[in-house]
Amino acid sequence: MRSIRRFMLLTLLLLLSLSAMITVFWTYLHSSHEVEEVFDASLVQNAKVLHGQVIAYRQRAALQELQRSVSLERLDQAPDDDDYHSGNANDPGHPYEYQVGFQAGSLDGELWVSTPPDFPVVERVEPGFMTVGEGDNRWRLYTLRNPELGIWVRSGHRMAVRDELTGQIAAKLLLPIVVVLPGLLLLLSLGIRRGLAPLETIRQSLASRRSDDLQPLPSERLPSELVPVVGSMNDLFARVASTLDRERRFTADAAHELRTPLAALRIHLEKLRLPETQSADLMCSIDRMERVVTQLLMLARIEPQRGKVPLKPLNLSQRCCSLVAELYPKALERGLSIEFEEGADLQVAGDETLLDILLRNLIENAIRYTCAEDVIRVRLSRESDRACIEVIDHGRGIAEADRQKVLERFYREGRQSVEGAGLGLSIVVLIVELHNGELRLEETPGGGLTVRVLLPGI
């Protein structure tokens, strides 16, 4: 996944390294050029001084003396750089002595003076600069030619000396960058994290909210780049919320509006006092419409309460008992009976109206889908720290594969032969969710459906 933080960090790191490298390279080039100039100038000067010396020592004997003095053995124990710097100025030698040297000779081909021993010998005497040799033995030479006196002088030093100097300059330039870069990287990372903090805050507040929470995001103290983003999101939330709200109100209004004509329909039909055979189907249809209307109203009432139902302690045993009492006559009409098995006096945290709707839905479903002369059992028990309501029927049950689908709104599975709107269980699901409970559909041993609702107890 792409991360802004990682992207910014990498880009900055690359740019920084690149600019550091360019700086170092450029400084290196520039300083090595300057170093060469200085070195070359010193070669020229050395050659000139030597030239003067050679003219002064023109006699053969004097020239031999000169060669002898420059060829003096160095100390056996050559002092190293540090000793030299620490001021052993009286020492007759220096480790760098072999790095520089000079030659002088006649244009006839006679070599008078040459030091150090491995100073390159170049037969051709051409005035000016030249570079000869290979590897460690590369030398930079400057030749001065005096045809009037028939002499030439040549000063030189090993290229390694200048390379070392320019290398050191570059290394010293590079060092602070290498040392500072990790620290810089850390600071950059902190800075970017800090800069992106408002994004992280928004991410967290979005991640922690419920999927149906449409409250606007807090928009104060936001960086200016995020204000329009959060603004649009809040607009969207508001639009969705108002659409949902309108939809719910419409459902509720429509259901309310339907109740009066339904009541009229029923009264007019009953007033006719038709024989059972003629009125049964009509009554059945009216019953079904009434139930759909009631359930739509329930849904419309429950849904806006999501996440904000105050749960109060209530006596579940009492609610179950009075619901069974209320619905018993309905069961009796269908030739069924209901038994209530109260395991214990159970308290749960819940909303009375909603739990009544839940129990009513479960028991009515059981009544609807059970054949005559059966017993529906409503059982209350404690399951570790939760209250367990079971509504057990011996009806047709629901195939295992269909159980999930049954919970979805309006799904009706193969049960159409008996009237039902399929809303009942989805209402139950909603209410169970609101109570942080759990709903399980199981098979009753011997056939039928057992609905098991687990609610957190107190």
Binding site: R259, A264, R266
Partner: protein
């Protein structure tokens, strides 16, 4: 018996009027204000009041009528089943309420119950299946033969008959018989029911396992 119907829906109003006209003289008003005036002037025996009305809201009609001292039993019809609405209606002096849509039988039963309650049972002779009950004398006869019931057995029987068609929970019955404060043996109610059944016949009282008892509708 005079019944005042205040209902703005043409179809429902006509249905109710026609259905009830066998037992009641029905006066029907479609507007809240007129309905209130009729309630004050006609002093009917019963009133059926819809909540959603033009002119004047049903709850408003109810409140004003009660303020003016009208004691006519009023049954409220409502399309809203919110508990709050119900409580508000009863607080303002409704005697009963019925949620739309309702069955004719339910409406008739409620109206009968309202009327009986309003009149008191003092002069009533009550008939339930083969039982005849003289509520003033507290005399119960089965097929003409007088039965001797204890005070609690009589109370129990009357409570069950009053609520016929509905299940009375054990809790409610115990409260009715003993009040809230009395300590009682856990099977006291069973003993009374058992004795009552021996006297009036086994089949009249159904046991609802784990819940309570009920008697069938007539």
């Amino acid at each position: 018996m005079d019944l005042l119907l205040i209902e703005d829906d043409e179809l429902l109003g006509r249905g109710i009027r026609e259905a009830l006209s066998q037992d009641y003289r029905v006066e029907w008003f479609r507007d809240g204000r007129q309905g209130l005036a009729a309630l004050l002037d006609l002093a009917p025996d019963l009133a059926v009041l819809d909540l959603g009305l033009p002119g004047m809201d049903g709850l408003e009609v109810l409140r004003e009528a009660r303020q003016k001292g009208i004691e006519t039993p009023i049954l409220i019809l409502t399309a809203r089943d919110g508990i709050e609405d119900r409580i508000e209606g009863l607080d303002r002096g409704a005697d009963d309420y019925l949620l739309k849509p309702f069955s004719l039988a339910e409406l008739e039963a409620r109206l009968r119950a309202l009327y009986r309650r309003a009149r008191g049972r003092s002069d009533d002779k009550l008939q339930y299946r083969d039982l005849e009950i003289d509520t003033r004398q507290r005399q119960v006869t089965l097929d003409g033969a007088p039965l001797i019931l204890s005070r609690r057995e009589y109370e129990l029987l009357m409570r069950l008959i009053d609520a016929r068609g509905q299940v009375m929970t054990r809790r409610k019955l115990e409260e009715h018989l003993y009040g809230l404060n009395e300590e009682l043996e856990s099977n006291a109610l069973e003993v009374h029911i058992h004795n009552l059944r021996k006297k009036i016949g086994r089949d009249l009282i159904h046991t609802v396992r784990g819940v309570g008892y009920m008697m069938d509708r007539d």
